[in-house]
Symmetry: C2
């Protein structure tokens, strides 16, 4: 990898996506990597112009990259679900991003909305399944628009799909000092899927005698994220529970402006994709108000994934240092000022 | 109703259920109602003794009561889902408790885990659908225990089921000073069910011109519960999202020890059922450590539901006053001491 240029596909997307991705790329250049970015204009604008969300030839082209950096997708001018399903989720599914990796970590100096909580109390990583469950998109409606309408959604869970993400989570737990893995589900109500998840965790656990395993219902977990976040180290959970709990995680760890994520294909059969957890935030788009930090931290995850560990660490450190300045009262910066400040640190 | 005795079925259930229900009944007696309680031993003990969860003749008998008070259901000695599905959820379904009413209200003096949050910032009511969605229990497993296992869960949503709970929520919103209703769902992924919920809210909204309506994805809502709880007044949501968000609501409003709920059959075709949001907490059962306040507040909801408004208000006020004493450092009381103290206030 180190000898040739890394090929990066960039999908800024909608709303603040464009603004934050620009800052991510600044930092990426400054950190001294041989990365060649190519931009793709996918999102609401293209959908309105051509009716396309993700044309097949573009999907094929994207497959050839080493990684993808995505800003955000979604716009109120497009009916709910179209860009999400046909662009964002399609990329996750087609490129088999079965691990959606979302660190929930409170940087020193960041304000959390929780009282009496120190940075060391919030340091976990959520391993969210990315290709199954209720995101499969199966379901339908009958007698739509009548008083007799029925609408269904189906959660599809396979031994194959659950086992691979559970193994990934155990590996992660094994590599961390606390070595603790918590399954979050709702086994008392979703008995069929819950039984598959719980049996899989029990079975794989036998291969990881050093890892302590634990179980928590999604409702209780939501409570504990607020009252005892320190009880979590690695959390493994399904696609929908992971979606909910990582936004909650972002909230407790100082807000959606800092939450990074990686949609990982661990075997490398297709490019992995890195994106901030936040959405396109159309209400503040184009005003320089968005915090690019989540994207810059996603860039660090991208570098780490590509094996550029030193560069990744440098970006993370630059963010940590920048955050300490914020604590000292340095607020009111625009999107690009924050990007410039972090860029200066990585090149310095 | 006021002329004859009110017939109350009491299901203490498992774990701390017995302890907290005893305190609820103390308060009920002291408040001066003509309520006749009859106890039913349903739960883990009966299941182990006789294999029964909710025998049909018992279900029929329960149907004849004016209301039900339930403690908690669930024990680690019973496989997940059995007592939940065959006892608790069966009662909700058979008695058509389509409104699961869960106030999220911070009493003055209660400590919230959120920093910089005042009591007036947290005052909402969650109207959770109680009979449909993923709780329908449909789904299954194929090739169970093999590497080719598939497990499914189905979310069933009907126009009939969604409209009636949405109407209830609009009525609630109309009766409150802020008159604001927020639909919480995940319309961008659960497109079929989400479309039914959103269309229903839009249609019913036309009949309530004074109510402001709003929409929030479940992931964003989880974040806002922590960062801006004040943006919610009445929340209407499906069964599973309601389950998650009300535990989170309990957490921000001072903990599960204070969260009350009513499983309501608004037409009165079967008895409504009142229960604390917390579970059976087997780890602290029998030690006098459980806080009975959530059950006592559920008793207040029960009184209110039966039209005994003055008595309900008296119980609520007694709890509010008791909580102020806690603030003054009055801690370390046992379950029955808290019950006695609140009882003394309502009879005094
Ligand atoms: C935009 C939406 C489809 C997406 C999801 O639900 O996965 C987002 O909320 C996320 O968490 O990445
Ligand atoms: C015990 C369980 C089945 C129940 C639910 O999921 O509804 C509980 O969590 C609740 O919120 O009342």
């Amino acid at each position: 990898m180190e000898s040739r240029n890394i090929r990066l596909a960039v999908i800024p997307g909608d709303g603040i996506g464009t603004e934050v991705v620009a800052e991510g790329l600044k930092v990426l250049e400054a950190v001294g990597t041989k990365i060649e970015p190519t931009h793709y204009d996918l999102g609401a604008a293209r959908y309105h112009r051509t009716g396309e969300t993700l044309p097949d030839p573009v999907l094929q082209e994207l497959r050839g990259y080493d990684a993808i950096l995505l800003g955000a997708v979604g716009d109120p001018s497009v009916p709910p679900g179209i860009l999400e399903r046909d662009l964002l989720l399609r990329l996750r599914f087609e490129f088999d991003h079965y691990v959606n990796l979302r660190p929930v970590k409170l940087f020193p100096g960041v304000e959390t909305p929780l009282a009496d909580t120190a940075a060391e109390d919030i340091d976990m990583i959520v391993v969210r399944e990315g290709t199954e469950g209720l995101y499969a998109g199966t379901g339908g409606a009958m007698r739509r628009g009548t008083p007799h309408e029925i609408a269904t959604q189906e959660s599809l869970n396979t031994a194959y799909g659950v086992e691979r993400v559970v193994r990934y989570a155990f590996d992660k737990a094994q590599s961390r000092p606390r070595k603790k893995l918590t399954l979050v589900h709702k086994t008392n109500v979703l008995t069929f899927a819950g039984d598959l998840w719980q049996r899989t965790v029990n079975r794989v656990a036998e291969e990881y005698p050093e890892v302590t395993t634990d179980y928590c219902h999604i409702d209780a977990a939501s409570m504990f994220f607020v009252t005892q976040p320190g009880r979590f180290d690695v959390v493994v959970t399904d696609n929908l529970f992971g979606d909910i709990i990582t936004d909650l995680g972002a909230a407790i760890a100082g807000g959606i402006g800092l939450a990074a994520s990686g949609n990982i294909n661990p075997e490398g059969t297709a490019p992995s994709m890195f994106e901030p957890v936040h959405g396109s935030a159309p209400d503040i788009a184009g005003q320089g108000k968005a915090d690019p930090t989540a994207t810059i931290l996603s860039v660090a995850m991208l570098l780490d994934h590509l094996g550029l560990r030193a560069e990744a660490a440098k970006v993370e450190q630059a963010v940590a240092d920048d955050i300490v300045e914020r604590l000292a009262g340095w607020t009111g910066r625009t999107t690009s000022q924050i990007g410039d400040d972090i860029t200066a640190r990585v090149s310095g």
